[in-house]
Amino acid sequence: MFKWLDPYAKPQVLFATLLWWQRGLMPLSIVVLLLGTIWGLGFTPADYQQGDSYRIIHVHVPAAIWSMGVYAWMAIAAFIALVWQVKTAQWAIGAIAPIGAVYTLIALFTGAAWGKPMWGTWWVWDARLTSELILLFLFLGVMALQNAFADRQTGDKAAAVLAVVGVVNLPIIHYSVEWWNTLHQGATITKFAKPSMDPSMLWPLLICILGFALLFGALTCLRLRTAILQHEAHRPWVRQYVEEQQDAKL
């Protein structure tokens, strides 16, 4: 079914293909993100209930959504690496993990920044924030495991196994934390859910969600290309490429 993808698994072909994707995605993502964040943070009307502070959702919600989306992509790459033994998929795990970790951090920090005007504290153990925190530990665990081995390939493979195990656990953790949160319900009820939003607030949010996705794509291309160069450093095509780059600079 996926035979047409076979040539792209080869590092050299993938390296060239990713360059075109990167060239397209990087400027596009920056433009979209700038549009979304400036519109959302600056020009949307104030919420009747929460005033101006709610605007942080234009950064918080996309970051939170994509932190989980990035983990899903990392798990897909890990699955491909384990089942079909594709080396470039193994390297993709190391490329994707830090991006996901940073997205999770952004979600946590913006969540805390939203929390301060809402509940008066920087941190509260609500379901969403606690889930994000655990997701951060999952990402950091994958990164730590990958870097803990003397042999880089063993690290990549171990990280792949952990990523797949983590993705099976992710829904279990998510629902456990939600259930736990209902048990220990405090006086404050979070209003992170937005069942209906006015279109003037919805559009910048959607644009930001798209922007975060494009940025993820662009950064993954960049990091994966670097990973390919690192892993294939002993091959002649890499040496040739490096020489060409040096000649181009001179």
């Binding site: 003397a150 042999d151 880089r152 450093a233 002993h234």
Partner: protein
Amino acid sequence: MLLSARQLSCVRQDRVLFEQLDLQLHASEVLQIAGKNGAGKSSLLRILAGLCEPEDGEIYYQQLPLAQSADDYADNLCFIGHLAGVQPQLTALENLVFWRACFALKPADDWALLATLGLAGLEDIPCQQLSAGQQRRVSLARLWLTSAQIWILDEPFTALDQSAIAALTAHIAAHCSQGGAVLLTSHQPVDIPGYAVREFMLEYRW
């Protein structure tokens, strides 16, 4: 031709140990992989034993690629690596019992076998109380119990004294006379009575 490797290459920690390496192992043959320290002998042996994946290249067992013949190959292979494979808190007898269950070894009189290996009287003390040479003898006991045709041995003569070396080389000769093949590395000169040892030199690369 029992085992053949084509265009094998191995990269360890960004160092290319060897590339485009071709190797054949035939029945009734003793092949010694020679080379300096760090040339990649152990890595080559581990790849041939199916423990690691090579960076490039293919291994063929009985003309079939390893991807198809891995189980048959493993049934017909006895690999004893650099490490002894002996659990130190168990006695020699208990180790043999465990190996018999895991590797489908021939049932035999373990006491007699250990006696022929020069370990009479040491069969039921924990292996950590044995000397390094005696532990190595216990780990080599597998060779007397296995019915595998191909033996891959990484520095089997380490820590062995003259009598043990003589016993091992005689056993290797007997194995070859029955159609078996042995692939080994050693820093000492290998002398198998009745068989010329073919040498395969691994160049040390930066």
